[in-house]
């Protein structure tokens, strides 16, 4: 059992060490820094596959940092939900780093890009592994600060404006989170999540705990870009370089936002029907506002950013139903969205790399010149719109069935309507970008470099075969452990405390 526990801290230590070494050598050895960063992310991806096996074998693993036993020391907790998020984060990061080998050549500071990217991955891995709320805050800030710098990476007018807006809003959210942590500490005198949860379960629910919960919902809701707190996302995500837009939309809003909301509300505070109602309503509002704003966009990346808001709405709706089927749908949609949204952003990046434009009405007829980009983007568009064989269809179907099963026909109606509007919006993308007549400017263009094609094809393959993940026999290895953790709710504390002894 010893080496398996040590493996947990590798997820945080390896990218941190990699980022440090990268910042030292990047200027001198550019090739080495690229190779080194890709290798680290690839190792993390393989290790995250190994963690799925641990979860099957032991169900929960607790690593005591520095040998201090909880509640005094910091713990890293690997359970089904953490392993699920770890695989999503490291798998998508791997394809993104592969894509950026060629894409980031047009920027001057490729080494700095990899340093910041590794820091962001370290932060996200830390957030999903930690079992201590203050430690969670620290990792949250590591990932956030790296993402602020990455949004401003182009240092042109748009990027800087978007980054400033993002930094200010996100820092205020972090302050609310820290205030919430302070309030909880003053009430329960502990920072360990399992310990905190068992203290809260023993006492009558006090007003200060509810206040802290509201602060957390605000703080993490802003990081997840749920609708009343979404204003930064449509500026920040399109302004970043395409691989970073992919990482922000695919991973950061989920690891720092949705995951933490699920962990805090389902596993630590314990959900009530009011909280679930709030989740569902926020989910539906995000879903509709996001998709309606996306319909009128002509900037490809901005359109995709609005769809991120809408798809996070689906995840929150599924989780807010509170039934096992709804949670399965929500988590499966989380994984699917973190596959097809990065793919779409990588497509937009590939078009921008080749033609230099993001405006849909300046493209047209790119299908004959860019077959790989066009076909993978077609697969991703059909996935996000929920067309049968692709993965997005299955998760949306599960969410809608769960709505009907829970007796919330109205919610189901909105989910279907949102899906139809998404389809309409992506029909527009396909029509203007890939079909129609080729613009004369682009008669000389060639398809993207080989590695960019490989990463897009890899993600498209997951989109096509993603539906397999929920078949009985396969889902026991990946999704069912994650759903179990959420469904068990505040029994999380007993599982973790049991694993310590």
């Amino acid at each position: 059992m010893r080496w398996e526990l040590n493996l947990l801290c590798v997820f945080i230590v390896l990218p941190l060490a990699g980022a440090f070494l990268n910042s030292l050598v990047a200027r001198r050895f550019r090739k080495f820094s690229t190779l080194w960063s890709n290798l680290i992310i690839f190792i993390l991806f393989l290790l995250s596959l190994v963690t799925l096996k641990f979860v099957n074998q032991y169900s929960v693993l607790v690593y005591k940092v520095g040998g201090w036993s909880p509640p005094f020391g910091i713990t890293l907790v690997l359970d089904g939900l953490s392993a699920f998020m770890l695989l999503a984060i490291n798998l998508i990061s791997f394809t993104i780093t592969l894509f950026s080998i060629n894409y980031m050549e047009k920027f001057t500071a490729k080494g700095k890009f990899y340093t910041l990217f590794l820091l962001m991955v370290a932060g996200m891995n830390g957030v999903v592994l930690t079992g201590d709320i203050f430690n969670l805050f620290v990792f949250l800030e590591i990932a956030s600060i790296a993402s602020y710098a990455l949004v401003a990476f182009g240092t042109e007018k748009d990027e800087l404006e978007a980054a400033f807006k993002y930094i200010v809003m996100s820092t205020v959210a972090s302050m609310f989170v820290l205030l919430g942590i302070g309030l909880l500490y003053s009430y329960a005198s502990t920072l360990n999540m399992a310990d905190l949860s068992s203290y809260l379960a023993q006492t009558e629910p006090a007003l200060v705990v509810k206040f802290a919960a509201v602060l957390f919902l605000f703080g993490f809701g802003l990081k997840a870009a749920i609708v009343p707190f979404h204003a930064w996302l449509p500026d920040a995500h399109p302004s970043a370089p395409a691989p970073i837009s992919a990482a922000l939309s695919g991973l950061v809003i989920k690891a720092l936002g949705v995951y933490v909301i699920v962990r805090m509300f389902f596993n630590v505070f314990g959900v009530t029907s009011e909280i679930l109602g709030v989740f569902s309503v926020l989910g539906i509002v995000s879903m509709m506002v996001g998709v309606l704003l996306a319909l009128g966009q002509w900037d490809f990346k901005r359109l995709l950013a609005y769809h991120s808001i809408s798809q996070v709405g689906y995840i929150m709706l599924g989780l807010g139903l509170g039934t096992p089927l709804g949670i399965l749908g929500g988590l499966f949609h989380l994984f699917n969205h973190s596959v097809f949204k990065p793919l779409l952003f990588l497509n937009s990046g590939s078009i921008e790399y080749i033609t230099g434009t993001r405006k849909l009405n300046e493209m047209g007829g790119l299908r004959e010149k860019l077959p790989v980009t066009a076909n993978t983007s077609f697969i991703a568009s059909m996935s996000i719109a929920g067309i049968p064989p692709f993965n997005g269809f299955w998760s949306k179907l599960i969410i809608i069935i769960a709505c009907v099963e829970a007796g919330r026909i109205g919610y189901g109606f909105w989910a279907v309507l949102g899906s139809i509007l998404t389809l309409a919006s992506f029909m527009k993308v396909q029509k203007y970008a890939f079909f129609g007549k080729l613009n004369e400017k682009y008669t000389q263009i060639k398809e993207a470099p080989f590695l960019m094609q490989v990463s897009m094809l890899f993600l498209a393959l997951i989109c096509v075969f993603g539906g397999i993940l929920i078949l009985p026999g396969v889902r026991e290895y990946f999704i069912t452990p994650a759903v179990d953790v959420v469904v068990r709710g505040i029994a999380y504390k007993d599982v973790v405390i049991g694993a310590i002894k």
Binding site: F134, I145, D158, E161, F164, T171, V172, S174, L179
Partner: protein, 112 residues
């Protein structure tokens, strides 16, 4: 109790400054005030009137010690806010180079 209330007022001043001011530098100062208020709150949580510093020595009775944990948290949070502040000021300087103004109503290229 009034200390906590004043602390809350400080936090609100910072938040007001972030929300209402039009100058980038004033917004950054608002953020810093918010961070100070939260750090002060954490210190207040662990503080004890006439308490002594939390150093443990053998043959010593532990009485009336302040809680050391919030002080550690505040140290970490100060380091984090240092990083954020440095970054946001760097971005503000770059914005000034590009737009030649600190007025946020004139920095409005992204909308829709």
């Amino acid at each position: 109790m009034s200390v906590y209330f004043l602390n809350f007022v400080l936090f609100s001043i910072g938040l007001y400054c972030v929300l209402r001011k039009r100058n980038l530098i004033k917004i950054i100062i608002g953020l810093i005030i918010c961070e100070y208020a939260v750090n002060l709150f954490l210190i207040l949580v662990g503080y004890k009137m006439n308490g002594r510093s939390p150093i443990y020595a053998p043959q010593q009775e532990i009485v009336n010690m302040v809680d050391p944990l919030p002080q550690v948290l505040v140290l970490t949070s100060i380091v984090i806010s240092l990083a954020t502040t440095a970054l946001v000021i760097a971005v503000a300087i770059r914005i000034y180079e590009k737009y030649h103004t600190f007025d946020i109503t004139k920095i409005r290229r992204l909308k829709g």
